[in-house]
């Protein structure tokens, strides 16, 4: 199965609005962990929304870069969820969330070293085996880099994707946030990626703290990120694109209006390329 067009992150605040109207949304992305529960409202609404919309699953606790081995119980749960809801694909983040059995519930950065690369590639292989499918890994926003890094983030991400044979979920806002926080050229990042592996794009708002940006998903997308999205369209073509909003969640119509901006940029970019 495949999806195309423009989606939104599925948030409980919008369940009723999604089901009572006909929102101009081609698909939804559900946070995997929110539906790894025994029953009740979350699964009820996911079921009803799935009956009308295409779906992808997006995890936040895979912790692919942790030295802890992949959690097979968790993966079995994700696979079961996927068997029930048939998402077009499953994604998570290129990061780690904890070590020695703890969970910091944050998307923590990796050092870009050969050791980390070998470990992540091995873990992706095990995860893809356990899930019985190729996964997408997303670049995260980061606020620090390690002295031990031997390559750039884009080199690391590209190497992981190629060696582990996984796909990429490109978060354009995260590229922009990290480019400001670390002082790199976001376009150089995009140009270095293996285009054929980019399967999905995330867009989101962030907060500007003056000398750094924080990936808060609590505000509309800023102009610089829209511009970078236009660059991504020019480079990679029509990639399924969606908006993530996790805080200050506005009415659904406000997000579908923002999604129309993405549609316009994409259409304009594709016409230009053609």
């Amino acid at each position: 199965m495949n999806i195309s067009g423009f989606g939104l992150g599925l948030r409980p605040d919008h369940y009723e609005a999604i089901l009572s109207g006909s929102p101009a949304v081609d698909w939804f992305e559900a946070i995997t962990e929110n539906y790894l529960v025994p029953g009740g409202k979350p699964l009820h609404f996911l079921q009803r929304i799935r009956e009308r919309f295409d779906l992808v699953l997006h995890g936040v606790s895979l912790s692919i870069g942790s030295v802890d081995p992949p959690d097979l119980t968790y993966l079995a749960g994700v696979r079961q969820l996927a068997d029930r809801f048939e998402p077009a694909w499953i994604s998570d983040h290129l990061c780690w969330t904890g070590v020695d059995g703890l969970n910091a519930h944050d998307l923590l950065p990796l050092p870009y070293t050969q050791e980390a690369l070998t470990l992540v590639v091995d873990h992706v292989g095990r995860v893809q085996d356990a899930l019985g499918r190729q996964i997408l890994l997303e670049n995260v926003s980061s606020y620090l880099t390690f002295t031990s890094s031997q390559m750039s983030e884009w080199e690391f991400l590209s190497e992981v994707a190629q060696r582990a044979d996984c796909a990429i979920l490109l978060d354009v806002n995260n590229v922009y946030v990290s480019s400001v926080n670390h002082g790199f050229d976001p376009l150089q990042y995009l140009r270095a990626l293996p285009a054929a592996r980019i399967r999905q794009i995330h867009l989101a708002g962030h907060s500007n703290n003056g000398d750094h940006l924080i990936d808060t998903h609590d505000a509309p997308i800023v102009t610089e990120v829209w511009n970078l999205y236009a660059d991504a369209v020019a480079l990679f073509g029509a990639i399924p694109t969606m908006i993530e909003r996790d805080d200050n969640i506005p009415p659904l119509a406000e997000l579908t209006a923002e999604l129309d901006i993405a549609r316009r940029i994409s259409r304009a970019g594709l016409t230009k390329v053609a």
Partner: protein
């Protein structure tokens, strides 16, 4: 530095502010390595505090921002998360409040946390289709003695010593909470989910006894037997049958 060590050191910084990791953070203006680490440390504490606030909204109202944040910080420091989803962080908060100063001095605080946590469990407990009153009547009267009951996965009972649910209900209605008051005797509360909605109510001593035995798998005859020291002999079968019928109406019984 090996990756394992690097992850342990960064995690230790998040958990307790330890600075072992500091020399391994690259110097890159405009932010110092210290401020870069602080972004992660602050995000860690505020994300977990926010998760607790969303599971324990009434407790947050009762304690106020400052005290709630202090209680959350102490809990976060004592019990780093081992759960997959942040939704389950908070599982041990009530226990923590019950045995930690200064919260232990106000036992209603821990009790309110127990109620709120139980409600979060009720919310997304497993699904099952409920029995109706008519389904019970399929069992012929002479076989009622052997009848056992299976309860909906969302069903919980709590024994509460304080006016905790009155506090919960006042806050839920947007009213000022009554002052904490200890009840003359502990009261059993029944919590469950019906048609995706959470419900709770108090149960009297007769129903509490019947529930405890029925939930433990005792057949109807044995449930009745347990009511002998609470009810007159001739009232027992009718009263017990009425309780079971009311359970069916609330949706808390399912097919065994």
């Amino acid at each position: 530095m090996p990756l394992h060590r690097l992850q342990q050191d960064l995690q230790a910084h998040l958990l307790n502010g330890s600075v072992e990791i500091l020399p391994h953070i690259a110097q890159a203006p405009p932010l110092s390595p210290q401020s870069r680490l602080a972004i992660y440390r602050n995000a860690y504490v505020s994300r977990l505090t926010e998760a607790l606030r969303s599971s324990f909204g009434k407790l947050h109202q009762v304690l106020g921002d400052e005290v709630f944040a202090a209680a959350a910080a102490a809990f976060i420091a004592e019990r780093p998360s081992r759960t997959r989803s942040i939704r389950w962080f908070g599982h041990h908060l009530a226990d923590f409040l019950a045995r930690t100063a200064p919260y232990e001095a106000q036992p209603i605080v821990a009790e309110l946390a127990r109620v709120e946590w139980a409600l979060t469990e009720v919310f997304d407990a497993g699904d099952a289709s409920s029995l109706r009153r008519e389904d019970l009547l399929q069992t012929a009267p002479q076989h009622w003695g052997e009848l056992t009951f299976t309860f909906h996965p969302s069903v919980r009972t709590l024994s509460l010593a304080w006016n905790t649910t009155a506090v919960w209900q006042s806050l839920d209605a947007g009213l000022t909470a009554p002052a904490p008051q200890k009840s003359a005797a502990a009261v059993t509360w029944l919590l469950w989910r019906q048609n995706l909605q959470n419900h709770f109510r108090s149960v009297d001593a007769v129903e509490a006894t019947a529930l405890a035995w029925a939930m433990d798998g005792a057949p109807f005859a044995q449930v009745c037997e347990q009511l002998r020291h609470l009810l007159a002999e001739e009232q027992i079968p009718m009263q017990a049958a009425a309780l079971v019928a009311a359970w069916a109406d609330s949706g808390i019984l399912i097919m065994g």
